[in-house]
């Protein structure tokens, strides 16, 4: 019998992971801001799961604090039941029997742990749910140095069989002993600005639905998802369903022209516009923003006839792709980019190509008619009378509604020339207009009337 035991041990080959190595591999493929966003995702998931009959998220809030000494995220989004924490929430990877809510952002089962390891050496998770509460502290270096093959954490406090009020339910995660680089980054304006911008963009739907998100006590405001809509000018807006690789998707496409702030549409001064960076495609997967103001070949820009140019600075396109199964979303593991090879994304891409081409055609018409001799063209008038409208309220149409193209008259001649800006401004002020075509017409008419058709002396 002893001989048989020795034979079994001799055949055993060790393959268990080292905790330190595991942590380094886990945190290697995620940057700081996506790590914070993963934690916020969990809170948003909690709010969505607990909104009940209210329909909106107005009773929920998430407060993020980030500075050189600590990171903390506090929410009232329902908390984590101790049983869930015990069996699922702190596992690395999502067990196949873990319960899932439709539309849940979390998918791979590593977000929270990966983010906490990324941020610092010590963290405490405190949570109060309807039936339980717990406090779980972790000293990461101590945990990583533990040679035991039994991978576990331990509650410092736990109480179950409780009956807690809804308004008392929530989670607080505190990270201290921040890693030096994280501490440095959280002390810089640049990182905090980017974090604010990402929070603003990535939970658009939830924020519009009433959820309050704060960063260092400043509230995050939603970004506009609006396009110009008028009686004679209607943008593209369609909804479609499709299947790809066995999964079902719903897709909303909206594309058109946006007005910047409340000013008159300045169609003639592209290069000076501050709205340059806002132009492009905004792509949402299950309400999470993946691409913001994208103007790359990924979304149809960049070819010879579709290259981005400042004349398109008022282009806005919006994609809403939803699926009940977050695992089917064509994004990468960090949910910061798209999976370009997936069939679902190719379908989305094709819809963007179509919408972009149609919108560029309209915008090219605008440019040409501005330079033309119709004053003003019906298209320009229609755009100027249009109002910004949220995309969900746009009429459904797969082609722009625009006035018919003007007839080119062959009894007319275009005149084009450049003058110094100073001289132009002097003459324009004298004439009481800022529009170059009007200045041109007035000055030509003046010469015609005074020098060509003037009465003979």
């Amino acid at each position: 019998m002893a001989e048989a035991v020795v034979e079994t041990d001799a055949k055993r080959v060790e393959a268990k992971p080292e905790r330190e190595f595991f942590i380094s591999m886990l945190t290697r493929d995620i940057e700081l801001i996506p790590a914070v966003l993963d934690l916020v995702d969990n809170s948003v998931d909690g709010a969505q799961s607990n909104k009940g009959d209210a329909g909106n998220l107005a009773s929920f809030w998430i407060k993020v604090y980030a500075d050189k000494d600590r990171f903390e995220i506090v929410d009232n989004c329902g908390g984590i039941e101790a049983s869930h924490a015990r069996e699922y929430a702190f596992r690395f990877g999502r067990p196949s029997d873990a319960p899932r809510n439709p539309g849940e952002l979390g998918q791979f089962g590593v977000g929270m742990k990966r983010a906490l390891f990324k941020l610092g050496s010590k963290f405490v998770v405190q949570s109060t749910a309807r039936q339980s509460s717990f406090r779980l502290p972790v000293d990461v270096p101590v945990w990583a140095a533990d040679p035991s093959p039994d991978w576990k954490f331990e509650f410092a406090e736990v109480e179950e069989a409780q009956s807690n009020a809804v308004e008392d339910c929530g989670t607080t995660i505190t990270v201290s002993d921040l890693h030096p680089q994280v501490s440095h980054d959280f002390s810089t304006t640049d990182t905090l600005s980017r974090l604010r911008a990402n929070l603003q963009l990535r939970h658009q739907a939830a924020v519009r639905n009433g959820l309050e998100i704060q960063l260092n006590e400043e509230r995050i405001e939603p970004v506009s998802r609006e396009l110009l809509l008028g009686e004679e000018f209607q943008p593209l807006h369609w909804l479609t369903s499709f299947e790809a690789d066995g999964d079902a998707y719903e897709l909303r496409v909206a594309a058109g022209i946006a007005r910047d702030d409340d000013e008159e549409v300045d169609l003639e001064a592209p290069e000076e516009s501050l709205a340059l960076n806002k132009a492009g495609w905004y792509v949402f997967f299950n309400d999470r923003l993946l691409l913001a103001g994208d103007k790359t070949p990924l979304t149809g820009w960049g070819s010879a006839t579709a290259a981005y140019h400042p004349q398109f600075r008022q282009f806005r396109g919006f994609i809403d792709l939803t699926s009940p199964n977050p695992g089917s979303m064509p994004w990468n593991t960090t949910k910061t980019g798209v999976d370009e090879d997936s069939k679902a994304f190719r379908v989305v891409q094709a819809e963007m190509f179509k919408a972009l081409k149609s919108t560029m055609t309209v915008m090219n018409r605008v440019k040409n008619e501005l330079a033309g001799d119709q004053d003003p063209s019906e298209l320009i008038s229609a755009i100027r009378q249009a109002r910004m409208t949220v995309i969900e309220e746009l009429p459904v149409r797969d082609r722009f509604l625009v006035p018919a193209r003007p007839t080119v008259r062959n009894d007319r001649k275009n005149i084009r020339y450049s003058v110094s800006l100073q001289d132009f401004e002097k003459v324009a002020e004298e004439l009481g207009t800022t529009q170059p075509p009007e200045v041109g017409r007035h000055t030509f008419a003046h010469y015609l009337n005074t020098q060509v058709t003037a009465p003979t002396r």
Binding site: T240, F242, K343, A350, E351, F353, K354, K357, T361, D398
Partner: protein, 298 residues
């Protein structure tokens, strides 16, 4: 300005008639009057006339670039139902209604270039399955000979050119072969984004020559649910649909010679046309193409 009337060019007219024969087979997908026809009619609208009379299509849209001659185009259109849209195809094609079936014949003067690829790639996403796309291009080899590949790259972009393309391969009808290959690649790539999994199937290729070498390729858009309709269309049974492109060469014959040859047609299996004073290649060509030749030359 003088120009060679589209009707007076027998090779081009034969090509048109062949294309119309191919289009007739679309009745396996849907009744032809349900289709709309989109093309570049020019002043003579020859293909529009054929689409209306032979295919019984009433919805006809002609795209013309030169809007300063609108009155002349309107005067020359043969039927009231032809709608003329003025503008570049790049701008007009995306604005049209593709909710129904379409036969879209893009008859370009020039070689394959980026704007053509844009047009076909955009249409690939908009057309309904059961629609047909026909593209006519200039296939005349560039000169000098050692600049052919470079010029092609300048027009379509280096990345779209098949790897084995050389200056020598672009001689004679080689440019036509490569342009067809590029077109098909672009259409298939565009279709990867279609939610209905529809793909373009190449149906016919016709090479012809009037003032210069030209090529016409016809593709039908087929979704998985329309495979049986594609089989029922039996495109491969048409004389002008072959493994290799059909070369339209117009033999120079007198009416008396044609009457003599017609009396022997159709030739029984294994038989040959007999007229010892004519070149054998003219007899072969006439035997293959006489049906369209007679109709094209009246």
């Amino acid at each position: 300005m003088t120009f060679l009337s589209g009707i007076a060019r027998p090779a081009k007219q034969m090509q048109r008639l062949m294309v119309m024969d191919v289009c007739r087979r679309l009745d396996a997908f849907a009744p032809l009057p349900e289709y709309q026809y989109i093309g570049f009619g020019g002043f003579e609208f020859v293909d529009f006339d054929l689409a209306h009379r032979l295919l019984h299509i009433d919805r006809l849209i002609s795209i013309e670039r030169d809007s300063s001659r609108k009155a002349r185009y309107e005067f020359n259109k043969p039927y009231r139902g032809i709608e003329i849209q003025f503008g570049h195809s790049n701008e007009i094609l995306p604005e049209l209604d593709y909710s129904g079936l379409s036969i879209c014949w893009l008859d370009y003067f020039d070689h394959l270039e980026a704007t053509v690829i844009q047009d076909v790639s955009d249409l690939a996403l908009r057309l309904q399955p059961g629609s047909m796309l026909i593209v006519t291009l200039n296939a005349h080899p560039d000169r000098p000979a050692d600049s052919r590949r470079e010029k092609l790259a300048g027009r379509v972009g280096e990345v779209t050119i098949p790897p084995s393309t050389t200056d020598a391969r672009l001689a004679q009808w080689g440019l036509a072969d490569i342009q067809k290959q590029i077109l098909l690649n672009e259409l298939q790539t565009a279709c990867l984004g279609r939610a209905d999994a529809a793909e373009f199937r190449s149906v016919a290729d016709i090479y012809y020559s009037d003032t210069c070498q030209m090529q016409t390729s016809a593709f039908v858009l087929v979704s998985p649910g329309l495979v049986r309709s594609l089989e029922a269309a039996r495109f491969s049974e048409l004389d002008q649909v072959r493994e290799e492109p059909v070369r339209v060469v117009v033999p120079s014959l007198t009416r008396q010679e044609m009457a003599f040859l017609n009396a022997q047609l159709p030739v029984p299996p294994g038989g040959e046309l007999v007229a010892e004073w004519l070149e054998p290649r003219d007899l072969t060509t006439y035997r293959e193409l006489y049906k369209w030749y007679l109709e094209a030359t009246g």
